[in-house]
């Protein structure tokens, strides 16, 4: 947890969650994680916390987490990045989609501890430092590609994955390769239109 990040004008809520995880991580600075534990050490216990280092939106984080913590809960509850949404929490809705090492995955079905050393990108990491939206974000605004907005961060992250995978060809392709992201408001036509626009813009870039 970088001090710079904490002091750079974050909300009170974010400051507090960040501080809590920073504090929780501290004792581990002197005690090796169980993965690296020497054989003579006391056997690991199920409730022990594990040290997990990840890069999230280009910032390094050192977290101390219960092994049961999903990547989704680590992002939301331990890092304070609540843009990634919890829909079903069982891998059926896609609301929790993030990029791990550039690939779209479901953060609800990934134990955070299994993401040691990975590069995570969430919806908060898309806009430029100057606040310019990512082409997919802008396209969702332009096409009104949401109603309630709850599925939108997952739709946007999945759309980026879909475009990067080269699967945003025809509108049918987009529907097929975006089928893991449900929208209960059924904004699908506008979501497809947004992805077509973003695809073309990203191709031109």
């Amino acid at each position: 947890m970088s001090d710079a990040k904490i002091s750079s004008g974050l909300s009170r809520r974010m400051f507090m969650t960040a501080s809590v995880s920073a504090a929780a991580a501290m004792p581990l600075a002197t005690s090796p994680t169980r993965a690296a534990q020497p054989a003579s050490a006391k056997p690991a216990q199920p409730r022990d916390l594990s040290a997990v280092s990840m890069r999230i939106n280009k910032q390094s984080y050192n977290l101390a987490l219960d092994n049961r913590t999903s990547l989704l809960d680590a992002l939301r509850d331990h890092v304070g990045l609540t843009g990634t949404k919890k829909g079903c929490d069982h891998g059926q809705c896609g609301a929790c989609t993030v990029l791990v090492d550039g690939k779209r995955v479901l953060s609800c079905l990934s134990f955070a501890v299994m993401n040691q050393g990975r590069e995570i990108t969430t919806v908060e990491g898309l806009a430029s430092a100057g606040g310019e939206l990512h082409p997919v974000q802008q396209a969702f605004v332009d096409h009104d590609a949401f109603q309630c907005g709850y599925c939108t961060p997952g739709q946007i992250m999945s759309a980026i994955g879909c475009i990067n995978e080269g699967r945003a060809g025809s509108e049918d392709d987009i529907r097929e390769y975006m089928s893991g992201n449900l929208c209960r408001c059924a904004a699908y036509p506008n979501i497809v239109a947004a992805i077509v626009q973003a695809r073309d813009e990203i191709r031109r870039a």
Binding site: R34, A35, R47, T97, R104, L106, L109, S110, M114
Partner: protein, 340 residues
Amino acid sequence: MRPFVYERPTSVSAAVAMASHAGAGHVPPTAADTQFIAGGTNLADYMKLGVGRPDRLLDLNTLAEPALRKIRTSDDAIRFGALVRMGEAADNDDVRRRCPLLADSLKLAASGQLRNMATLGGNVLQRTRCEYFRETSWPCNKREPGSGCAAMEGVNRQHAVLGTSDSCIATYHGDFAQALIALDATVDIEGRRGKRTLAFAKLHRLPGETPNIETDLAADEIITAIEVPLRPWSGRSRYLKIRDRESYAFALASAAVALDMEGQTVRSVRIGLGGVATVPWRAVAAEDALQGKVLDEAAAQKAADAAFADARPREHNAFKIPLGKRTLVRALLETRDMKV
């Protein structure tokens, strides 16, 4: 979810040795104290539901062996490392070109996100989605041996009509496995007693009276590779999957078909059926019915009748018999008409 110890073995032999300290005796891998995790898409879900209850997880993603992550194609086989992700295998040009059935069965499964996560080794070991298995308040012989089966007289629209027993009618929902069983695949397995190669058809066990024992694997064994022989029928092959919605759903019925034709006559045919059976299903009777025959609609229909001759429907799933037959007929005719 129950708390668990998490460890990162760095080689297959280390993982196997770590597993062997726990779960002695004939405990099925799904009930062992120590379990392996790779993509986690199935196990993490079942741990959240309280169905999977390991005390210790060994993360296979930290295994160092490069072969685990490679797809190797030779003149006579495609060999998949067990840690290859579904999406990578589905997009592999060699796989698509030389055996479209394999690529199709993967592409039509799950979602883009899940295919990026799930490994091939884990995919074939995925557990049933039977609602009564997933929800721990119901009796379930697979989850709690001897407790009974709530699906028998329950809502069993999704359930199997082939390979069922009086103990269990839960469907095996995977797609890739139907391609593998049709194509005579083998799996390489490593455990504390050494390495072995098993016909894919012998990997899964019919439920019988012990539906809790789902595979031939011991708790210390890891699938390290899946090999699919390339034969004259591999190129003319496809996977047809029928679902309640167009995409991202489990099969109500599916057919994996590979054909070697001499003109309009069947020289050899391989058929797997999904969504209708308790285990990956090879339709041997249907293959026999087509051998040496001219493949027209009537012959395909006869083969489909043979495939479902032993089907046993329950209250809500009888529709799967005509649907399964029509799926197979269409798959056979579409495969026959493929331009290869």
